[in-house]
């Protein structure tokens, strides 16, 4: 893991006087102290993340059977999952969901962030505070509340749909289940994303906007050519974080599944599949393999996004 030593620390060029060499050694010694600050975290990280991960990889190569116990099975588990359509359908679903939800939500978050940044709506600070409230609500609670709002028998939103002539509207039908989850997830995360983008926008110096106005930019141009590019780093970070969250979605469908078992299959999302296979079905090897596959998919998608970004030009 050794990287090249920075120039500052490198030994003095040959033939230079002693004082230079002394400073170099002092600088290096000082910089090495940095390790002490970093080590505690790294140790914890290895213990609580890396070791379990390796353990999971190991487990994925074993199969447990009721009769016969555990035995090494190589890539058997992986094969099983590759051929099992259920896992893939769940994976495809979250990928598609993410591909729709993330841009939509970021658009919404950016839209409001810009409005508040420009002060183009009254009572901006009040709205911002309100929009941020869902972040204080744990997913479980949010899912429970929304489930009860969507509940077929007594859910208020079902009654509400009745006002439009859609009686006994089912939010959990196979056609509506993903839009329903969409409603919940957007509710949970838009405010948080918006606050991040808002603060990021605020750091764009006022003079830049003034200069753009003097250069003849309309409002739309100011937003698209000045503000948006300058918050690109924040947006990229949010895409990354949101994507990781979306691919590992568990809580919302799981809670909905409690109230409406028929709406959520055992492999609705990859994480649900992993949980069901591993904890309920006791087929831990398979669950581990699925988890590893999920991890690899996450890495692949991240690298693709990363590569696209790098290719598009400057990378800070």
């Amino acid at each position: 893991m050794a990287t090249s030593i920075s120039l500052e620390q490198s030994g003095s060029p040959q033939g230079s006087p002693t004082p230079r060499a002394k400073r170099s050694a002092w600088a290096e010694r000082r910089d090495r102290q940095g390790r002490w600050f970093v080590t505690p975290f790294l140790i914890l990280m290895v213990l609580t993340m890396i070791v379990p991960l390796l353990y999971a990889v190991r487990e994925s190569l074993y199969t447990t059977q009721l009769i016969g116990g555990t035995h090494f099975s190589g890539f058997q588990n992986y094969k099983t999952i590759f051929t099992d359509g259920a896992f893939w359908s769940g994976l495809i679903h979250v990928i598609i969901f993410g591909a729709i939800q993330i841009p939509f939500m970021l658009f919404l978050s950016f839209f409001f962030a810009v409005i508040f940044d420009l002060g183009a709506a009254r009572f901006g600070s009040v709205f911002r505070g309100i929009f941020f409230i869902p972040y204080a609500v744990p997913s479980v609670v949010a899912a429970v509340i929304w489930s009860m709002l969507f509940a077929p028998s007594y859910g208020e939103l079902v009654h509400f749909m009745g006002l439009f002539g859609l009686h006994n509207f089912s939010f959990y039908s196979s056609g509506m289940i993903w839009p329903t989850i969409f409603i919940i997830v957007i509710w949970e995360w838009t405010g948080y994303n918006m606050v991040i983008l808002y603060t990021s926008l605020k750091s764009v110096p006022r003079e830049l906007v003034e200069a753009a106005i003097l250069d003849g930019a309309t409002l739309r141009k100011v937003i698209t050519r000045i503000k948006l590019p300058m918050v690109k780093p924040a947006i990229e970070m949010l895409v990354f974080l949101n994507m990781i969250g979306a691919l590992q979605m568990y809580v919302e469908p799981s809670i909905i599944g409690q109230f409406q078992p028929q709406a959520i299959s055992d492999s609705f999302t990859p994480t649900i599949f992993i949980y069901n296979t591993g904890v309920n079905g006791q087929e831990y090897g398979q669950a581990a393999a699925a988890a590893v596959i999920l991890g690899i998919v996450i890495v692949l998608i991240s690298l693709t996004v990363f590569a696209l970004r790098k290719r598009r030009g400057e990378f800070s």
Binding site: E207, L208, A211, L214, D215, R225
Partner: protein, 413 residues
């Protein structure tokens, strides 16, 4: 290419503070006018109002012959160079310079030609594909100028564009800015807090203070004929030495008493400054420019009766080779340009901690600690009212044209 005509521009903020008071200025085509004053004097406010970035509370602003009070900045055909350059960090130099053209939907080919032309004028040809963060301060400044000139606007507005550069670069860039302005012949309003910069660059200089215009004239006029104490002490380096003095009538003559010393005021001077007689028996503020003090050559007798003597303690002698600065103390406190009773200010603002400065002949014999007697060119003294700061006599009075400025000063009292 048009002129700017500002008449009575006033800016009052929502909380009642007055940023600019009754500001009037005319700038002709091709003129380079500098706007100078201490921080908070309203110079930037005035500039921004002309740019359209600040609303005009009252007054009329015309660019060309068009009243532009309510016209959007873009429509005013002005270009502005900001103090911090305000370059778009995510765009290259070429894109930065071309941005105004892009905003007006100028076709790509034409845009590129104009950008390259601007780059040539500014010496930026090799940097077109760089980003601002990879440029030095001076280069960034030039890109900011490029963005301003590429549109060939009617007016250039510059808000302390050189303040962020180091001293040497600043002097270099001053010449650059002037060269470009002359080449393009565009009316320019240039704001700075540095009086040296204002005076060396401007065809005309406008001095401001506390939101009010103090004087508007050529550098020469401002230096020779300041309308008030503030302008007198603000323009010129080393600054004018200000002291409190008293006019005393003795034997039918007027004398100036500073501390325990008295200087005879020749009748020609009194004749030229009729208002001075009214100050007999009262105190006022006298201004002595450093070059009005000289050290008598022991070999030659004093040449003119127009010299009086002023004794002082030399505190420090700076030998610059071609001239000698003698820092002296008179025993009476030296005043700053803010020492006017009419303005509410902390008392320590009105007194200068520094000693007075005299600019004497290069090989004068004087050492730090000496007690020296200066020859004072009495003709060159300035007299200011101690309550209003307005000039009441002395050198200023003998010139035409200064009466207009005096009226301005009086109006500002």
């Amino acid at each position: 290419m048009a002129r700017i005509s500002a008449q009575g521009l006033t800016k009052v903020y929502a909380d009642g503070t007055v940023g600019l008071r009754d500001f009037s200025l005319e700038i002709e085509e091709g003129e380079f006018v500098t706007l100078v004053g201490p921080s908070g004097c309203g110079k930037t406010t005035a500039l921004r109002m002309i740019a359209g970035l600040e609303e005009i509370t009252s007054g009329t602003l015309k660019i060309g012959d068009r009243v532009v009070n309510d016209v959007a900045p873009l429509e005013r055909d002005v270009a502005m160079v900001f103090q911090n350059y305000a370059l778009y960090p995510h765009l290259t130099v070429a894109e930065n310079i071309g941005f105004p053209l892009e905003m007006r939907n100028v076709p790509k080919a034409e845009r590129r030609a104009k950008v390259e032309e601007a780059a040539r004028v500014l010496g930026l040809e090799g940097y077109l594909s760089r980003k601002p963060r990879n440029l030095s301060g001076g280069q960034r400044q030039r890109v900011a100028m490029g963005r301003a000139i590429v549109r060939r606007p009617a007016v250039f507005l510059m808000d302390e564009p050189l303040s962020n550069l180091d001293a040497k670069l600043r002097v270099q860039m001053r010449a650059e800015v002037q060269r470009i302005q002359r080449q393009l012949g565009v009316a320019t309003l240039y704001v700075t807090h540095d009086q040296t910069e204002a005076v060396t660059m401007g065809d005309r200089v406008v001095v401001m203070r506390d939101g009010a215009l103090q004087q508007n004239g050529t550098p020469h006029e401002l230096y020779e004929h300041p309308v008030n104490m503030f302008v007198g002490a603000f323009i010129g380096s080393p600054a004018m030495n200000l002291y409190r003095g008293e006019i005393v009538r003795a034997d039918g003559q007027l004398e100036l008493h500073i501390g325990s010393q008295s200087l005879e005021l020749p009748p020609e001077l009194v004749a030229r400054s009729p208002r001075l007689a009214a100050y007999a028996g009262r105190s006022l503020i006298v201004g002595i420019r450093p070059e009005q003090l000289s050290l008598p050559d022991p070999g030659n007798p004093p040449r003119s009766k127009r010299l009086a003597a002023l004794t002082a303690d030399a505190e420090l002698v700076e030998d610059l080779g071609n001239e000698l600065f003698v820092h002296f103390r008179l025993g009476v406190p030296r005043l700053s340009e803010n020492a006017v009773a009419a303005t509410a200010g902390a008392s320590d603002e009105s007194v200068e901690a520094d000693a007075g400065v005299a600019r004497v002949a290069p090989r004068s014999r004087v050492r730090s600690g000496d007690r020296v007697t200066f020859d004072v060119v009495v003709d060159g003294l300035y007299f200011f009212d101690e309550d209003t700061g307005a000039v009441v006599g002395g050198r200023s009075s003998s010139r035409r044209g200064s009466t207009d400025n005096q009226i301005v000063a009086e109006a500002n009292e």
